[in-house]
Every structure is written in structure tokens, then in C-alpha cells.
């Protein structure tokens, strides 16, 4: 069965009132990287996943999980 890395990046970002560009600037990546992670097009590295979680003030496992 195929597994994929699901996330609630968009919801958490909206809760904090951040735009993709603002989050991207915070983490030090381009807006399109945040966009592709949110859409599930791109699977981030552990480093980027942790950086995103830290910026959004949530534990990484609450932001990302494996979906079967």
C-alpha cells in the first residue's frame, strides 16, 4: 500500500495568520517550496519539516504524519 506524508501546514499557517511568503521567509526557503509541501507535491527533508514545525510553534509530529 502506498504511503504519503500528509500535513496540516495550511491550517496551522492560517491559524497564525501567516501567508506562504511570510512562512517561507521565516524558514529561509522560497514560497513555492512551502506551496509544494502544503499541496503534498513535495516531501520535505527532516530538517525542513522541523524548521516548519518550529516556525509554526507545533511539534513536528502534529504537523506531519504518514497516511496509508
Amino acid at each position: 500500500m502506498a504511503e504519503r506524508l500528509a500535513n496540516r501546514l495550511k491550517e496551522r499557517r492560517a491559524e497564525l495568520g501567516l501567508t506562504q511568503a511570510e512562512l517561507a521567509a521565516e524558514v529561509g526557503v522560497t514560497r513555492k517550496t512551502v506551496n509544494t509541501v502544503e499541496n503534498g507535491v513535495f516531501t520535505p527533508s527532516a530538517t525542513l519539516a522541523i524548521k516548519l514545525a518550529q516556525s509554526l510553534n507545533v511539534p513536528v509530529e502534529q504537523l506531519f504524519w504518514i497516511e496509508k
Binding site: 511568503a21 511570510e22 517561507a24 521567509a25 521565516e26 529561509g28 526557503v29 522560497t30 514560497r31 513555492k32 517550496t33 506551496n35 509544494t36 509541501v37 502544503e38 499541496n39 507535491v41 513535495f42 520535505p44 527533508s45 525542513l48
Partner: protein, 150 residues
């Protein structure tokens, strides 16, 4: 560090790159059509050399763009951010597609040599052109897709 101006500049350049990559591939491919269509036409020796040199220079520039962060005249901070995780992944996928296309072209040339005489220069020209063009197009498609809002 939060630098929204830097992010905005990088986003603008990244979108520009996504638009430019397929255009570059078309320009590059049209140059090859001209080259191969006038291959056996006798012409001045200097013009022939100039044409080959122009192709070689363009190929080296495009290969360098594919192999490095590109945007060589931008500050380091901009170049580093432009080559972020997603861009590197897209570039790797595109380079792989280019390599596989080059190998396919090489196989086709190899088969062709069983039936026809193929010059060494023409073979290299064809194999390199196919690989570079495919890599540019696939990188452009991936970058364009990455910019699309979901």
C-alpha cells in the same frame, strides 16, 4: 532570519526562471534545427566554425545553469535561497531526465551507424542537444507546477 524583501525578490526570480526555461529550450532546439538542416550544405569554413562555436558556448552556459545554482550575477543570499530544497529536487529530476534522454539518443545514433555513416561531431552534437533540451523542458515544467497554487 525573516527577510521578506529577500523572499519577494527570490520568488520573482524563481517565477522568471520557470517562464524562461521552456523558452531557452525552444531557442536551443531551433538552433539545432538550423544546424542539422544545413549540415551537408557547402559554406564558408569560418561561418561553419562560428556556428559550432555558438552552439558550444550556449551548451556550456546551459549545462552550467543546470549543474549550479544559476543566477551568477545575483548576491549569494539570493542564489542560496533560489536553490532551496524543492528547486534542488526539481533540478535533480530534470538532470536525470536529460541524462536518460541523452542515453536514448546515443543508442539511436549507435543503431543508425549500422546503416549509415555518422560523423563524430554530429553524433556528439545530437546527443548533447537532446539531453540539454529535455533537462531544460522538464525543469521548466516542474518549476511551473511548483508555483501553481493548490
Amino acid at each position: 532570519m525573516v527577510d521578506r524583501d529577500l523572499e519577494a525578490q527570490v520568488d520573482r526570480l524563481s517565477r522568471k526562471r520557470a517562464r524562461m526555461l521552456p523558452i531557452l529550450a525552444i531557442v536551443f532546439l531551433s538552433q539545432q534545427i538550423t544546424y542539422f538542416s544545413t549540415l551537408n550544405t557547402p559554406g564558408p569554413h569560418a561561418a561553419e566554425k562560428l556556428k559550432i562555436s555558438a552552439w558550444l558556448v550556449l551548451s556550456v552556459i546551459l549545462l552550467a545553469g543546470l549543474a549550479t545554482k544559476g543566477f551568477w550575477f545575483q548576491p549569494k543570499a539570493v542564489r542560496d535561497m533560489l536553490d532551496d530544497e524543492n528547486t534542488r529536487a526539481n533540478r535533480l529530476i530534470a538532470t536525470r531526465a536529460g541524462f536518460l534522454a541523452s542515453m536514448t539518443a546515443a543508442i539511436l545514433v549507435y543503431i543508425d551507424t549500422m546503416f549509415d555513416t555518422v560523423g563524430g561531431r554530429e553524433a556528439v552534437h545530437f546527443i548533447m542537444s537532446v539531453g540539454i533540451a529535455v533537462a531544460l523542458i522538464s525543469w521548466g515544467v516542474l518549476e511551473k507546477r511548483a508555483h501553481q497554487d493548490g
